[in-house]
Amino acid sequence: MSDKLVVIGDGMVGRRFLEAVVQRDPSWDVTVLCEEPRPAYDRVRLSAFFDGVSAEELSLASDLDGVSVRLGEAATEVDRDAKVVRSATGEYPYDKLVFATGSYAFVPPMEGADLDGVFVYRTIEDLEAIKAHAAGRRHGVVIGGGLLGLEAANALSLLGLETQIVEFAPWLMARQLDEAGGGVLKQHIEKLGIKVDCGTGGSRIEAVDGRLRMETNREGVSFDTDLIVFAAGVRPRDQLARDCGIEVGERGGITTDLACRTSDPDVYAIGEVAAMEGVCYGLVAPGYSMAEVVADRLAGGEATFPGADMSTKLKLLGVDVAQFGAFDGPLATTYLDPANGTYAKLILSDDATTLLGGMLVGNAEPYPLLRASVGGKVPGTLADLLGGGEVEGALPDGAQVCSCNAVTKGEIMGAIHEGCTDVPALKSCTKAGTSCGSCVPMLKQLLAEGGVEVSKSVCEHFTQSRAELFDIVKVTGITTFSELIARHGTGAGCDLCKPTVASILASLSNGHILDGEQATLQDTNDHFLANMQRNGTYSVVPRIPGGEITPDKLIVIGQVAKDFDLYTKITGGQRIDMFGARVEDLPKIWRRLVDAGFESGHAYGKALRTVKSCVGTDWCRYGVQDSVKMAIDLELRYRGLRSPHKLKSAVSGCARECAEARGKDFGIIATEDGWNLYVGGNGGFTPRHADLLLSDVDSETLVRTIDRFLMFYISTADRLQRTSKWVEGLEGGLDYLRGVIVDDRLGICEDLDAMMAKHVEHYADEWKGVIDDPEKLQRFVSFVNAPETPDPSIEFEEVRGQKFPAGTTARSHTQPVLLGTPERK
């Protein structure tokens, strides 16, 4: 029979321990008592729950052989004589026992701390309760201005509450920052609309008229609020150990030696509950080291705790704060830029050669490098480090790059030489970067240092990047995929390189996208000039430039939709989408639309989508320029332009911005004197506001600059890289971009202008090109041997008076539509 191991607590450290045990010695018969209703999850990222990350995504659970996890079952007693752990429902004998019970949130003894509306911030259940209580309420108070308090305040403001932080210490994050740093941080936080009162402590809470009132230690200062969150520190959960006579520290925590052994040789303690040589560590990284130590000991090893790196970095509401290494030391250099809200301090050895520690507020870019340099040479001056300039001097091999998982530079370089060529590979073979993620930029840098070129090749058939292929096509004048792959690639191509090359050929204006061999390259959507839906039917989106449409044209759309029985919907792009078209009906639908003066809206292509407009001077009392006309002009100029990713634009008639131009790849906002041009915005997965490139320019300059912006993007971006990522990735950023396309620093503007002129001149409606061409029309059949027989497997049903793919109703039963404030499952 195998030996029995019982673990109390399935938290972050407990889980890491289980993984380590199973990996080293799978013969243990392991039982885990997990008090929470779910297995381990990423508590460090707990706040992401309020950013829409689900409990499932936070989960750290994994199926481990030989491990039985008892969910929702707390250990209630340890009987060391009988060597069993008891719960309310079971009894678990052990040969070895590990405490991984973590901490509980500390609530100072205060009258009213048990009232409804008072919370702590530790578990997913806590967050769910906070969220439910916050719904429809207005104001929240967070007690505690440390790491945890700031996270909680961030969460409350994400929930839409006016938020007040109350901190007893004289400044924020007093354990990580000095007074100057705390002051700069306070400025940042207050700018974001969160109120901060330091030197203030709550003394009493009472319920008043369905709300809460908190009195403080300061005469006459009290807060009326709806919700109070305590984030005033944590205490080790050592009660169970106390009860069974295991030794605990003076200030709490189960006393252990450097091998995590407690006063009972068969019992270990790891994570936040352990008071290792009297010290409790409140971070996950030291806990992970302890987990590894005990796993090694159980397998017969001799490991001891290597010491802890208490460095921290956090980014809240866009404010970076970091602290690393020593907090104080013989020498310090500081940098303060109140205008930008940047503060930095380095702690140095007395001869100023060795970096001992430091802190950063407002700009934590140099954090990974600085943290890894602690104990070694100072990697540069603060001004250089913060300016993002090139910093000389490689890190020593022993430098710890990932402190959460104690991985050194040497180990990472080793993994790179053994064949890890990207960040995901490094994560899986060294565990670096898998916890807080703050070392990932450093991993990328080390990959580059290790000679790994982060591959930009399009796919297995081309080693070149999209930008390189673009140059090749442009310079050589190659016009077919087969010639390109024969001369510059290998094999037959795939779904990555074919559409990429098709798009490049189209950007450089090489005739109809379904001409000759080009037809075989197009993604399905481009091949049928429509978007395929989940049941194999298509959507039809005619262009409606600027969103302006005549009643007659509206009637045509309505009539066509009626005749072909299509579902209709107004899109978010100020036009109308008709869904459910069968492939063999597409040409007939488009014949009608083209005859009525419509053109393809390219909803299917990586191409210009829409240029949205507001009503502007035509009707609006505030409009200062004709935004509708400008939007129509721009949409007609760039229609059909193929690009690395889709392109969207909008024009607003004044600063009120009704067209949401700053959420677009290029957005235009009217001013009294002309136009402001913004570039690099998008909505989608990672929303980003566009940056101001030019202000108060006339229409001609505006259009010329957009021409160049688009062509420079098309010439140099990666496959599926939207303008936002492209602009962010330009070395030298917006100034560089302005240099290239406004001041013509590279001398390429003439070329860019010529490319756009060629596009404008050669534009022709793709759908018209199809319905006038019998050869192309041949493809739009349901079956090659039964061209007009509708695919019998496609069925529809009626919902809300329109047709939908069959099964829509059943589907919506399994995924309820959530109204109001959704309850989390």
């Binding site: 058939h461 390259l521 091949h527």
Partner: protein
């Protein structure tokens, strides 16, 4: 074997759908070297009959078609899904006779595999 269309009707590098006598649907592809493959048109991941509209190419030299909906790759020779071994397409026999493409149904199913 059922005739479905003239060989020249299929553009090299693309596919067509054919409705077979038994009511099933085949996706027939002509590659650039004029070789032909036939598999079932039904995408096992979405239940839509769309495989014939996918892009063809190769994965490490193995000819494949990618589903146009969720982009999984299927080996044209075996029907096997290279991204998820639990799914596959049926493989049909296919030949050219007198300039006409013919596809095998029923008992001949999988004969080409």
């Amino acid at each position: 074997m059922e005739p479905i269309c003239a060989f020249d009707r299929i553009i090299p590098g693309r596919g067509v759908a054919a409705l077979l006598a038994d009511g099933t649907q085949a996706a027939v592809f002509r590659l650039h070297d004029d070789s032909l493959f036939a598999v079932s048109n039904l995408d096992p991941f979405t239940g839509a009959n769309v495989i014939s509209r996918g892009i063809v190419g190769d994965r490490a030299g193995e000819p494949v078609v990618m589903s146009p909906l969720l982009k999984q790759a299927f080996a044209l020779k075996t029907g096997e899904c290279l991204d998820d071994p639990s799914a596959s397409l049926d493989v049909y026999a296919v030949e050219v006779l007198g300039g006409e493409v013919r596809v095998g149904v029923g008992a001949e199913l999988k004969a080409a595999a």
